[in-house]
Symmetry: C2
Subunit: 401 residues, 2 copies
């Protein structure tokens, strides 16, 4: 029956339910620097399919089952070995929970720890997906000043004291220490140690988002906060989205079992997709390390193409970061240029997409003269072309010098 839809839900919604647009994709530009996608041409489709075929042959009938919500055990075992080898994180499969992308892990932690009004401390600009979840649970998010080495210790302690002086207790620190999203910097070892010292002093858990760590183009790995901590206060989140594909929807987290046990009921939809976990497990065991080497070379060339494009088209008119890894860099334009307002027009006329800086601002307002540009999706030639278009757009429409 076609509905007249006379029924009104408005008065029935729960007080805690979120009256906000859902988190999803916008219209995309041909030159799509808005989202941190991996390289589409090098997705390992053939190997994923063959890996799935092997798994279905070996244990396909287990698709008939409902798994415990921590998810497919062999993939958790693989991750325990990978984290030990790559990040010096010593955990077992029982300390790991698979999630539908890192986003689900971030959601679970935030739902588990945040009451309305609780204060969360973040870098001055931070991942928009995490901000979305924090807002959904009505956190009071405070950005802390950073330099190129990460959170400034003095600013962090001053913020903690300010929050306490308001009669509040900071509840959580969220950071992306390696190839920070959105600005691209990497927190120095000294700053990591200082951050941990403050967290221990003030009894503050840290949510460490390490989703980009496998994509390093220059420089040396630094230890994760989780590896530096011996108290159990770090909740560590990672993902296969940037190393295999977002469409596999596979992320993970490890934390103290006390925290995991409380967070698991917030996991919606049961165990992660077993069909995808089958493929990713066999693929990761056999191919992931060499695939990461391959895509690291590809993405380094894209980063270099974007930096070269910026030097060609923006020298003297803007500044930008040159990240040692990850999929995004950060451009700062002169104050007064509002890239948030310009975004729809530049997308429409110039076919160039970007993320306005204020998308990553705890106050939603700061950074309107900044852009996050992600270089993972387009080819190097397209990136150079797109940088020219973006410069032209900002000069014609935005008053860039």
């Amino acid at each position: 029956m076609t509905q007249s839809n006379t029924f009104q839900f408005q008065q029935l919604f729960a007080r805690h339910s979120a009256d906000m647009p859902s988190w999803g994709a916008n219209k995309r530009g041909k030159y799509d620097f808005a989202i941190a996608y991996p390289d589409p041409a090098s997705l390992p489709l053939t190997d994923l399919l063959a890996s799935l075929q092997t798994a279905l042959h070996e244990e396909g009938q287990n698709l008939a089952l409902y798994l415990p919500s921590a998810g497919y055990l062999p993939l958790r075992e693989f991750l325990a070995a990978k984290l030990a080898r790559d990040r010096n994180i010593q955990v077992t499969a029982d300390d790991l929970v698979l999630t539908a992308g890192a986003g689900q892990a971030l959601h679970m932690v935030i739902e588990t720890l945040i009451d309305p009004g609780d204060v969360v401390l973040t870098e001055d600009f931070t991942y928009s997906g995490t901000l979305y979840q924090m807002r959904r649970f009505r956190a009071n998010v405070r950005g802390v000043a950073c330099d190129h080495e990460g959170l400034l210790p003095d600013a962090l302690e001053a913020m903690i004291k300010k929050v306490k002086a308001e009669g509040r207790q900071p509840k959580l620190i969220y950071v992306v220490p390696t190839f920070q999203n959105p600005k691209g910097g990497t927190m120095s070892l000294e700053r990591r140690k200082a951050l941990l010292a403050f967290a221990q002093k003030y009894n503050l858990p840290i949510l460490e988002d390490d989703c980009y760590v496998d994509l390093r183009y220059d420089g040396q790995d630094l230890p994760s906060l989780r590896a530096l901590d011996d108290t159990g206060l770090v909740i560590y989140v990672g993902s296969f989205s940037k190393t295999i594909a977002p469409g596999m929807r596979l992320g993970y987290m490890t934390a103290s079992r006390e925290l995991l046990a409380r967070a698991l009921p917030a996991k919606s939809g049961g165990a992660v997709n077993l069909f995808a976990a089958f493929a990713v497990h066999r693929y990761a065991v056999n191919h992931l390390a060499s695939h990461i080497e391959e895509i690291t070379d590809i993405q380094r060339a894209k980063r270099d193409a974007m930096v070269a494009g910026l030097e060609t088209h923006f020298a003297g008119a803007a500044t930008w970061t040159k990240p040692e890894g990850g999929l995004s860099l950060w451009v700062t334009l002169p104050a007064g240029i509002d890239v948030a307002a310009l975004r729809p027009k530049i997308l429409e006329i110039y076919d160039v997409g970007y993320s306005p800086g204020n998308n990553f601002a705890p106050d939603s307002i700061s950074g309107k003269n900044c852009l996050r540009l992600s270089f993972g999706y387009n080819t190097p030639a397209e990136i150079q072309e797109g940088m020219g278009r973006l410069a032209e757009a900002l000069r014609c429409e935005g008053g860039l010098a």
Copy 2:
């Protein structure tokens, strides 16, 4: 670094976070009647793999993208056509949201509508996964008396009046009208119309769980509540878990756009798994209708084997339902036999798994002399053997006559 785990989270957990065990699998018996699994031997593994291969060839590079959280459009379009054809539900792809199994849809609706203490009305015994979500959001769940045709209209109205007399407003009615979980009955057309009339009179939305409707072995289809309603008060949930496989983690919901828009932010992990959605979409377009015919024949034989086993081993000592479809039936033993207490021992010694009736009771206590037996997983021969073992177990351990 190995952690000393001195950090204590206990004082930091959000007030709304749920201190309850996560929803997951228990130890399984060889004779596993505890969970409503589909038939493992007839899972269409080869066709799913070929379907995925086609999709990866056609659009595999889109795995690099993040989709809007309603999920893969072609699969929503397929579902709109299927619901129109099979259930006379007239909706478009924009009225549908894909979810990680029906469980995620049920969670989203409950989170969106239920404040702590809100009253939800259900059948006298109802799906344990939904009860889990209702408890997580601290609903006050009231079971309404049923007979073999479903909710008793007089009992429903009396319950609504009782709740109102307490100064509360019932917030939601949750029902599984077709092949009810756990009892197996199907709500008659007259009762469906009566339920809708009460819902409209009292301005009460209905959450209709239609996950089993495709598995009909006898009798005629009845219209869904959603098809009978023209006001928009019915939220309709379905799943591919019973027709393809739970491991694909694909369910769906349709409701008024007002409700969907508010529920989408509660969806964790972004769009459903695209890798699995690729496979299910191509598979469903080409094979689902014939596969349902095939598995319906297989499951009918299993139901018949279980009913025959009950007649052989329990005649005169128990009563049971004979569902026209679905994957479970309901056995009532004499009062005083506590199958909840006996479960671990019967699983350990007799290798037989079942779900105690109180798992499905809003009060967690009623129905300890009842069992839900699911017949989807084992072969007919195993089912008959398992019925013998169960009868022996209940006679030796539980005092069954």
